[in-house]
């Protein structure tokens, strides 16, 4: 069966990759909870994931909030339902767009950088050198990045939520002529704890996925500069796809009846 062969081979390769990734993830998580912990490294990674991503994520959030208000206005005017705009903005931002867009931006910025850095360390034997110096790369390289991702991304998303809602407010007030006091009152009325919390849970999961993909592809990169390039691409692509998949399942977990 010459047709079945390549299909089977691809399928087996896929299973192998999935198995390796799962194993890697379990090892990485186990090392997050076992000493030694490196606070200095965690701090440095939190700066990289959180602080330095603020401008990118902030810009993404504000324009998303603005376009949301504008689009809903032009759309809802047909049903004279313009008053729902604050509701639409807050729900979309906190539930969906805040975590997903922040996750994707961080995947491009941070996941890529992690894969490139760890990949370079792999191909220049620095990871081997770590092992010979009684230092486990899972503890020294992977765990600090995972911890930073899981802790920092929710904070980043919370800030993105606020900036995004503010973007919607700006357009509604200055372009669409809403009353500021009513808009704010409506927004506060519509904020639901569950919406925000689900968004933050998503953010933590996305933070884990992005850093895990960056570390995994970097750690397994092979063959010089080209290998590092491939690892970087794979890290960003796989993290983005996983973010979108997990986004659906977490949403279902929180909101499906």
């Amino acid at each position: 069966m010459p047709i079945l062969q390549p299909v089977g081979r691809t399928f087996i390769a896929f299973l192998g990759a999935a198995g390796r990734l799962t194993l890697f993830a379990f090892m990485a998580i186990a090392h997050c909870f076992r000493p030694p912990i490196y606070p200095r490294l965690i701090g440095r990674q939190m700066m990289a994931v959180g602080y330095y991503s603020l401008p990118v994520v902030g810009l993404t959030a504000i324009f998303t909030g603005m376009v949301l208000a504008l689009q809903s206005y032009t759309g809802f005017a047909r049903f004279s339902a313009e008053s729902a705009i604050p509701n639409v903005v807050i729900v979309s931002i906190t539930r969906e767009l805040g975590p997903v867009l922040a996750g994707l931006m961080v995947a491009g910025r941070v996941g890529a950088a992690m894969a490139a850095e760890i990949g370079t360390m792999r191909v220049t034997e620095q990871i081997d050198a770590l092992y010979t110096l009684s230092t486990n790369p899972f503890k020294y390289l992977v765990a600090p990045r995972l911890i930073a991702g899981v802790v920092t991304l929710p904070i980043l998303v919370l800030i993105a939520d606020i900036i995004g809602v503010f973007g919607g407010y700006l357009v509604s007030i200055y372009k669409l002529g809403f009353n500021p006091a009513t808009y704010i009152a409506n927004t506060i009325d519509f904020v639901q704890v569950q919406d925000v919390v689900s968004g933050l849970v998503k953010a933590a999961v996305f933070g884990f996925l992005v850093t895990l993909m960056g570390c995994y592809h970097g750690y397994h990169s092979r063959g010089g500069a080209q290998g590092v390039g491939t690892a970087t691409t794979n890290a960003v692509v796989s993290a983005s796809i996983l973010i979108l998949c997990f986004n659906y399942f977490i949403t279902e977990l929180f909101f499906a009846q």
């Binding site: 850095e117 050198a129 110096l133």
Partner: protein
Amino acid sequence: MNDSTPTNQAPKIQIRGLKKAFGDKVILDGVDLDIGQGESVLVIGGSGSGKSVLLKCILGLLHPDSGSILVDGQEVVGLYGSALEEVRAKFGMLFQNAALFDSLPVWENVAFGLIQGKGMNREEAKAVALEKLASVGLNEDVAELSPAELSGGMRKRVGLARAIASNPEIIFFDEPTTGLDPIMGDVIDRLIVSCVKELGASTLSITHDMASARRISDRIAMLYKGKIIWSGPTKSIDSSGNPYVEQFINGNSEGPIQMQVRSL
């Protein structure tokens, strides 16, 4: 073939039937080698013959396909987790390309094993690092530079300082003097010899430089086609009676070892 170790104690490292292949390319095909307590063994062999792979197998950085490696009588093939980490703590390794951490300054590279591995505080570790750097001929100004700012020979020396910083029991030197000027090469050779004397360390080195080989080793083993084809005391290398060894140490392109090259 002469495989007796000079000491009567059990060897520090005993390798038997070690095999390693990448895909269908067989690199090590049943290597047998002993390294005695406090002994300096040197492996010679053509470029690409698998010398670096041999070192990495012993360190557990590559997983051999079969065979046995005993370190102090303990089997390390198949060992993992904290048991493997414990064995690795006995080793220091100078990598062929130095493998310095480029996110850390030079002195932190040297002090790395002390700070991370042994939990020494940073000031103390830095003092030790500066001392080790001085012994490889690098001064305090270099200590603050990043590895990317060093020349190839300087990187090698930093790698050497890092390998010996935590006074390991066993030290591997993968081409310690390649890329150094002849005088510095001699300095490094002396340093290696004094390390062995002072620390009582056992060493396994690789080099292509026969002058250096004679200075730093007690015993030489030749790796060819995945096997140790000759091993004997360094003094007797010139009277080995083995045509492969003779061709190799004389650097002769004519002989039983055929290089896979086509003339222009």
